[in-house]
Symmetry: D2
Subunit: 307 residues, 4 copies
Amino acid sequence: MNLTDEQKAEIETARTARFETVRPTVPALEAMMFNPLPVLDHGFVRVVDYMGDDAAVVQAARVSYGKGTRKTTEDDGLIRYLMRHHHSTPFEMCEIKYHIKLPIFVARQWIRHRTANVNEYSARYSIMDKDVYIPEAAKLATQSADNRQGRGDVLNAETAARVLQLLRDDAEQTYNHYEEMLDENGIGLARELARMNLTLNTYTQWYWKTDLHNLFHFLRLRADAHAQYEIRVYAEAMLETVKAWVPASYAAFCDYRLGAVTFSARMMDVLKKRLAGEAVDQSASGLSKREWSEMMAALGTGPLTTK
Amino acid sequence: MNLTDEQKAEIETARTARFETVRPTVPALEAMMFNPLPVLDHGFVRVVDYMGDDAAVVQAARVSYGKGTRKTTEDDGLIRYLMRHHHSTPFEMCEIKYHIKLPIFVARQWIRHRTANVNEYSARYSIMDKDVYIPEAAKLATQSADNRQGRGDVLNAETAARVLQLLRDDAEQTYNHYEEMLDENGIGLARELARMNLTLNTYTQWYWKTDLHNLFHFLRLRADAHAQYEIRVYAEAMLETVKAWVPASYAAFCDYRLGAVTFSARMMDVLKKRLAGEAVDQSASGLSKREWSEMMAALGTGPLTTK
Amino acid sequence: MNLTDEQKAEIETARTARFETVRPTVPALEAMMFNPLPVLDHGFVRVVDYMGDDAAVVQAARVSYGKGTRKTTEDDGLIRYLMRHHHSTPFEMCEIKYHIKLPIFVARQWIRHRTANVNEYSARYSIMDKDVYIPEAAKLATQSADNRQGRGDVLNAETAARVLQLLRDDAEQTYNHYEEMLDENGIGLARELARMNLTLNTYTQWYWKTDLHNLFHFLRLRADAHAQYEIRVYAEAMLETVKAWVPASYAAFCDYRLGAVTFSARMMDVLKKRLAGEAVDQSASGLSKREWSEMMAALGTGPLTTK
Amino acid sequence: MNLTDEQKAEIETARTARFETVRPTVPALEAMMFNPLPVLDHGFVRVVDYMGDDAAVVQAARVSYGKGTRKTTEDDGLIRYLMRHHHSTPFEMCEIKYHIKLPIFVARQWIRHRTANVNEYSARYSIMDKDVYIPEAAKLATQSADNRQGRGDVLNAETAARVLQLLRDDAEQTYNHYEEMLDENGIGLARELARMNLTLNTYTQWYWKTDLHNLFHFLRLRADAHAQYEIRVYAEAMLETVKAWVPASYAAFCDYRLGAVTFSARMMDVLKKRLAGEAVDQSASGLSKREWSEMMAALGTGPLTTK
């Protein structure tokens, strides 16, 4: 993270201000607010505002006049019930706003989540900072042999060095040319044109605001092991903020979404047979090889795989 | 409004609590929070939470690290610029949540605004209150002769009395039968079935949450003179809350939306000719009679109409 | 269904027209088009337009220049893969439009699905038909004792007769008063006001258009055994149209959604222990009684429950 | 446009197929289907499917059983009425699907229109083509002096040549390194990583589907003179397809949106005074200088500007 002194001072000012409110307030999240959580080499996630808490979920589900909460165990039970049965609207009653700095190729994946509000730093209007994502060598891997959209083995040191050299030099050169084209005492090209010379690992920034239901949807997909590493680390940082903000909803989310497994109708047939003591192998299961291995992975290396 | 003592106490508890926060806070709106603003005979609107303020609009537009505000006049100018040029995303960075009690036929119009979060009191799960909207006599009017979806003259006293009698008696009878069907010591019919006997003026309630941009869109349509009276009064109550919450955005909204007039390309031709001193009447204008009268109404009864 | 002769003739005209197109076309769905499928006593669902087919899902997933399809087995495999991994955007590339007649209380549940386009018959503008939903006696049931939003036992004949009497008489009376208030030679009340006297089982109509992904989401929730009977029958009629339209996507939907079961992280622990031959009962499972019984129901009354 | 022979053959096959349908069909649009309309140096827009026509707008507005159309003049009048009064839902009943090839920096603007369905060519899964947008020299302009997000004067020949040289060389080099990193017999870097070295003028492709109302919204903003040239040319190509598809809706759109002008409440005061023969200049108008000049521009160089 390359924050200027001015930016650091602005953040400090925001963090030390104190206001009085009648609104639901979450001290654990207040303590994290405005502070950038570092992600990748120059990126960050920081909470800049929020609305609601676990009690607001309960309150909306009950359409109540006051807080709507009862005993903690009852409220937790209700939150778990809502999550389990996909009653999503009460979770939509909480809202959070982040300021995020992220590489453009990550931003392009991210923006496909349409149910959110976004204000991005405008490269038509402003000049982009010279911040470019260069991966750690340990994260450079070959194309996966068996997953067309994944990574395989980590590159050896020499090959990794070559990749890093290419990425660094090309980013340096294209950014320098970007600056040359923009130079008001030189070419003075319009910003909306000059930006096209930047590479996709250039960092951008945005304000991104969403409700808790849609945030959970985002996190389930992006904190998943199949998500690209460079977006997953953002999801992981955000999970920490959600845990501080709405601990009961977060726990229900972990149980019913992050850690849950869905079995298809065909998989359920296999499962029922197995539980009844019947041996079933892939060829008799009606499942493709890939589905079979996905199912076995979900169940762990148990008795099913050995038959 | 028929609030129970318990409901009043819950509201009072919420109003008198005080929490400390680092979030943007609007004292003028805090002072209104939780308090029901009466609408129609038994309805209300009350603010139950909010996120952001005028400065948050500016902050998002600038994707800034701190508050992002400069001089008040600069910030106001930016807000006016954003509103004028339909740069809607910064206004989406503010969010507000209402608890609303409203007749079902109003709720059915309201819900067509899709970009909002809603939790409605469930008549599958709970028993509906015996609250029914009965209009004031002064609001009972005939079908408009020239507008197929509007009202004309107010009914005379005798006819109005007949209408009120019918509405009251039918609401009373259908609700009593609803209760009879629900009675656990009698028929015990499922709630999801019994509810079908209620009339459309029965009150329902919901939590309704939306961002400032979509709220403005709602208010522009529903605070309009062509909106049905029974939804317009809700929009008017909400306008008061918006004025307290984001005064600069509200002022820009009044100027560029509520009080603005759009002229079609054909109307612009008429307008330019008139400003050049040329006489144009409806037959030569290319406008239909209705469009012509809409245009004249927008311009006031001025020189255009007398030529 | 009470169709007028004029309506029948209009439908017949549409059904017998023939046009030439280069667009993807599905003969099995063409054969069903415009024809109302009866639902409840006066309701219906009829397909009035559609866009795309199974091949359009494949084509979009491949962003191809032509049809994008290969061997049927490859295409089916891709569709199954997309469904299994929640790659929903290719399914959004198919669109369908229905004309639906349904009771207002059903319409109020339905409209909560926001990602669809709707044009409803306007009771501000037009006079509502005298069509009211009266359930069959066999569908009248008590409030469920163990599910706060469900039905229990069917009413006995005498009690059912009383309920039907109440529903019929109240609907008859409120509709007659609606007509009396509207009478242009009598009271002449504005339509937007008179409508409030109608009961919630009055039928309304709308055009409803959505994409295949969102339709599947609707059908998964509304064709579910926990959905209210009166909306489930609409979902079932629509399932028939989807089966004719996109058979491969429909089959994947049945396997991975309708017939699938999701186990929470805690349930997975139980499952793995059981598969390893370990006995686990509810008290040791970490599951609530309700979750335990939901899990046992999903697995069938097998060896797990007897231990 | 660089289409391969295989791609051309696929398009030709699609264009010459003929199917029979009972659906609304628009011969003028059928004749354009599948054919790529060239945009910029390597981009295109082509219609790959559509649903509905002008009559479908009318039919939905009337919630009719048959075509719902009456005399052409009545239908046109209804369409104009709907457009004028922002009754947008009937226009949502028509849907269109495009296959579009466009530079990534244009795609990043485009995707901010959230109410659409998108399937983009995946650079995690596939290798990007070597197609890069290089502007024509005549389109290279300086940063605008008075509009922070616009262009000013065209560059002189020598400066333009330098810019084109930089853009070409950097695109060539970064793409070559992209290929080197991907090479399966060399580095074999994962595609999801290698793509980050590409510049923002690299072409991508997507299937993009939206309804007519949202398409009009997109076109109003992107066919506007203030939109960046590189996205405006796509909007202009799409306007041609809309004109062929729904001529009556298109005409209403041109009159009430593209050619329309909105005056703020303050501007209306100025206008009314002027029409009453009163002289008003900027200083007395309550308008900022920028607003005043926007208003004068909208009215043309008439008597107002000379006072």
